[in-house]
Amino acid sequence: MSNDEGATQANGSVVAVPLNTTTYLDFEKPLVRIEHDIAELQLEHGQTKRSVSADIKQQRSRYRSTLKRLYTNLTPWETVLVARHPQRPLTTDYLKTVFRDVCELHGDRCFGDDDAIITAFARVGGHRVMVIGHNKGKDIKERVACNFGCAHPEGYRKALGKMRLAQKYGLPVVCLVDTQWAFPGIGSEERGISHAIATNLMEMARLKTPIVSVVIGEGGSGGALGLAVADRVAMFQHSFYSVISPEGCAAILWKTAERRQHAAEALRLTSTELSRLGAIDDVIPEPVGGAHRDPAAVAANLEKYIVGSLDSLKRMKLPTLVRKRQERVRQMCSFYESPLEVKAAAEAAKEKLATRRATSRSSRISGRFTRREKISG
């Protein structure tokens, strides 16, 4: 998925090289070269004491412009890589940066507690909220404990239980989506993963409290949608949201996972495409180089979006809010056509026009009559 060959420092040098802990992705190789050049310049400075600051400055600006160029033209597959970047901020990071006074709540009151979905009371801006987010885990131990953010039915049931709690006490729900898919396993099927996701979709469509969902990294299939029926759905600029992973799609349609780049393109899974298709409402910008290069900036953007959305959603009366949510879902992505219905609508319009003409003509005639009568009278 990623490589860290770029993280190598120049020749094990002892000279003060800016500590670089970024994991570089394959397509970021040009940056690695520039980084290397800078390190060499610094090494040279250390050995010869020749002033190289002008050169370094030049290289740094080259670095910035290359970074910008790479990230303004990300291909869909590169977007997938950025969204899965091992250093990309996760729900647990945002719980520290965006939310305050976080009070985690556990358990689905039925089977267990699924670490793949975190649910918590929290404050954001001036709002008390229920925050619900996929948890991918920071290190390998955590990742194994939470199945890399792939939730079991109990995760979705825990989420729904806490949403109902939020509804009862008038707290809005904020969902952070970041999952590859719902957990595919025997236990998951035995405990009804289909039923758990389906129930979330249905109950979220009529939950009597505002819901805001943000895809912060990977939006994988039903596992993502199970937390993404909302009044406002947004995606981070370099996140992706798809019906199936590019690898899975390639394996099925091209019979080889090697075609994942093609699949990523064909699936139209980037924030720009989803916006165009009307599947999401907003795109939250990321700093140049992706969320992992400036977590503070991206946290600020997320906070601004959540607070802004809640401010406006909370002004709505609950029945209006729910009706609008359902209408929004109803109209979303209606990409079908019906020649018969178009014809029927055209005929109905023609008929309506004809009747209107007939009535307006008769009223004009009667109008004339009255005038004439008036004159004669």
Binding site: A182, I186, I252, M332
Partner: protein, 267 residues
């Protein structure tokens, strides 16, 4: 699996489940069920309607809805081309048929998915038809009966297919709020995005014997988890054992069972 694909194999055919040579006319009389082993063959949507509805009572809605290919999707062949081929093969426009019908004299809104059409995967049209069926059930205050069979969300419609899950679930929330009765008849195979949306939301969930039901494909589970799958995993019987199916009903009894449930619910 020749006969699973609806190839007319002449007078005799080998049952895909038990391997017995069976007389096709007998199978037809038994509504596509093997006389030797009761294997329930997959049937296309029109045949299913003939099996379920009272003769000549089915009145179809939204006959000609078709996809506009929002992604301009192309894998080995363009999606538009794939649709045309499927339409030519099946004589249907899409993978679901909805309409009004009578089942043993009870009026219902009936939706039937067609496993012969791209494995009844759900795209914008299937989603829209399901929603319209639910809306019509509210309007006419009639029970909604949906026969599900699907490989899941239609990949060629990407996120558009995914949003249909939310769309159908939201329509069913409204049907539920209106006090409507919703009966699901899960048939082979009911999986993926359809299973994780409207197929799991029935007030009553009936299933045909041995129908495959589940979310993730068995091969996906086997490959990712590297485990042996237990015998009978993801069958209707397995789902009933784990509490997600109300009754397993052989095809020949479906009409009676549906009518009975409608009567119990006073609809």
């Amino acid at each position: 699996m020749v006969d699973e694909k609806g190839v007319p194999a002449g007078l005799w055919a080998r049952c895909a489940a038990c391997g017995h040579m069976v007389y096709e006319k007998d199978v037809e009389k038994l509504l596509g069920v093997c006389p030797e082993c009761s294997h329930h063959r997959r049937v296309d949507a029109r045949t299913r309607i003939r099996h379920l509805a009272d003769p000549d009572t089915f009145e179809e809605f939204s006959v000609d809805l078709k996809s506009t290919d929002p992604l301009k999707f192309k894998d080995r062949i363009p999606y538009k081309e794939r649709l045309k081929r499927e339409q030519a093969k099946t004589g249907e426009v899409e993978a679901m048929i909805i309409g009004k019908a009578f089942i043993r004299g009870r009026p219902v809104i009936l939706g039937v998915m067609n496993p012969m059409f791209i494995m009844a995967s759900m795209g914008a049209v299937v989603g829209e038809k399901m929603v319209r069926a639910a809306e019509r059930a509210v309007e006419d205050n009639l029970p909604l009966v949906v026969v599900t069979a699907s490989g899941g969300a239609r990949m060629q419609e990407g996120v558009v297919a995914l949003t249909q899950m939310a769309k159908t679930a939201s329509a069913l929330a409204q049907l539920d709020d209106a006090g409507g009765l919703y009966i699901v008849v899960a048939t082979d195979p009911t999986t993926g995005g359809v299973s994780a949306s409207f197929a799991s939301l029935g007030d009553i969930v009936l299933a045909e014997p041995k129908a495959m039901m589940g979310f993730a494909g068995p091969r996906v589970i086997q490959n990712t988890m590297n485990v042996e799958l237990p015998e009978g995993f993801q069958t209707a019987e397995f789902m009933m054992e784990h509490g997600f199916v109300d009754r397993i009903v052989p095809r020949s009894d479906l009409r009676t069972e549906i009518a009975r449930i409608i009567d119990f619910c006073g609809k």
